[in-house]
Amino acid sequence: MTDMFTKAAWIIPLLPLAAFLLLTAAGRSFRSLGPIAGSAASLASFALALLVLLERLQDGAVDYNNSFDWISIGSYTLGIGFEVTNLTTLMLVVVSFVSLLINVYSAGYMKNDERINVYYGYVSLFVFAMLGLVLSDNLLALYIFWELVGVCSFLLIGFWYTKPAARAAAKKAFIVTRIGDAGLLLGIILLFWYMPDHALDFTMIESVFEGGTGAIAAGITTVIALLIFLGAAGKSGQFPLHVWLPDAMEGPTPISALIHAATMVAAGVFLIARTFDIFQASPAAMDTVAYIGGFTALFAATIALAQHDIKRILAYSTVSQLGYMMMALGLGSLTGGVFHLMTHAFFKALLFLGAGCVIHAAHTQDIRKMGGLGSRMKLTAWTFAAGALALSGIPPLAGFWSKDAILAAALEANPLLFAAGLAAAFCTALYMTRLFVLVFLGEPRFELAAASKVREMPPAMTMPLLTLAVMTVVSGFAETPWNGWLSGWLGDEAETHAGWAAMLASVAASLLGLYAGWAVYRKGALQGGAAVKERVPGLVALLERQYYIDELYAAVAVKPVRAVGTALSAIDRYAVGGLVKLAGAGAGWAGRLLTRLQNGQAQGYGLAAVIGLIVLLLAMLGRRFLT
């Protein structure tokens, strides 16, 4: 067996970085360079990642780690390098594949944007950061890339910075994830403090925590795991730090797909999967992760029921699906979490890119103003339907298998979480049906003049949809109840294979959701959405306003901080600034006073000199006589 490509894995993240540097150098000239450089770099990355994957599929592939000393302080050295394991290889392939398709898609979507090179530069940097994060062999290097991911998301969410909403969303995303990042940093510092030899690389972490040998006290382990989870919750949009994710929809739609499928939110789940041994050593932390995940899954799914913005619905659906992944990890099912991460990457990217086509065609994001797009955009509609069905968990699409793996783990461990998962699955099917019916079926609800102009999108935008649709169909077969390839490959012996009970229950919940959505929004059993609103106005308002979480944060956190900020800025402006101004003004007054003395009369100066001389002489004489 050979490991030529594995050894060269460090090149994978550097290719997008090269594209970023090239595009930054090009600036606003060479407008056609952006799509070419960005797509070529991610294509090369994907090809290399695929070669690494093929190499590792051979028997007897061992983890490969290569690092060099980065910092040496006394006897302590910190290395930095890359590590290729089965988990990182899988992530490399998924991330580079999705980003390749998004690069291609953006060529059509952003065609008329003036700053297309800047856009592609940011996207390349984003992909570089994510691939670097995946390949990092120690926590500190991972943290650096983690922050880089955060910066890139800030840049891209605020890409259309002339829109005030985009600026606000970018700031919100940055600040909210920063809360999580602070937790992660504290976790890393604690880990550094308590680890034998202060080692931070994943191999050491694994060997220290594996099997709960107790090298680190249980309480400390729990604290470390919870702090790391705080970081992951910030990035992966778990309650209560989920608020930035729906607002992040202000960015260009391909960016939403990139953030939601491949890069940003996957980082949190990946982090937990990478440091899974720490979590396994602490049952309390595992429970926290599972309950927060389960709660988020249901909570976000109910919000998605009442949203009107197509991208917001998808965003809350992402939050909900991430909740599933967290729940799976918390229940000890590494395979379930990673598997759902992978399948979700495919179908959520598909859904977002489809939504991008819809928005491009209908020039609105409000699903109440769409309708009837299916007949004019057949390809988009069919691929979107595939994604929606996969998300809803209908067999044999990918989402079914991965969701089933999670629900099976939940059924075995915790009936409460299983119930939450089922309820969320029902809501998921319901809101996806609502979305699909309102957007693609029925009569157009926007102006007829615009409706006749709706066309299918160019191939640059539809080809990625088709590719992702294929992946949405086939990727689920990586792990089925009778074929545990993925769990075997990830070395997850604890994986249990789905029982028929979980499978039947999840399909039943999904079909019920589909039927309910179809009945309400297509057949008009309750005369459409308006009737629902009339019957339970309070509930709909609660869901529409997203449980008033934003308002709550504004009242509890934002306003007090603003007040403190205003007070401090007043102190700065009036107390500190006042002193500075006083010093300046005092010097000015003294100067004006002293200019009076210089009256231009040379004889006056002479007289002053003589008086001075006399005073001096008197002083000398006085000293002689007095002493």
Partner: protein
Amino acid sequence: MLPSYLTMAAILFCIGLYGALAKRNAVIVLLSLELMLNAVNLNLVAFSKYGAVPSLTGHIFSIFTITVAAAEAAVAVAVLIALFRARGTAQTDEFNQLRG
């Protein structure tokens, strides 16, 4: 003898100083400056003749002073004439262009 000369020189110097500082006419101010210079010359010569270590240096020094004073007077009068042509006056209190 020395105190008489020194007293004489001091009186001359004080008169010159008074004139230089108090007179408003620039020509008088120049004359007063000459008076002060000559008071100094008188001091130099008196010391070179009656001082503790009489020598010729004081004489030579005073000759230098007279020479330089002559040159200075020439320049000063030239400046004064130029000023008078420009401003139409020789009153020193009119020349206050450099006031702050």
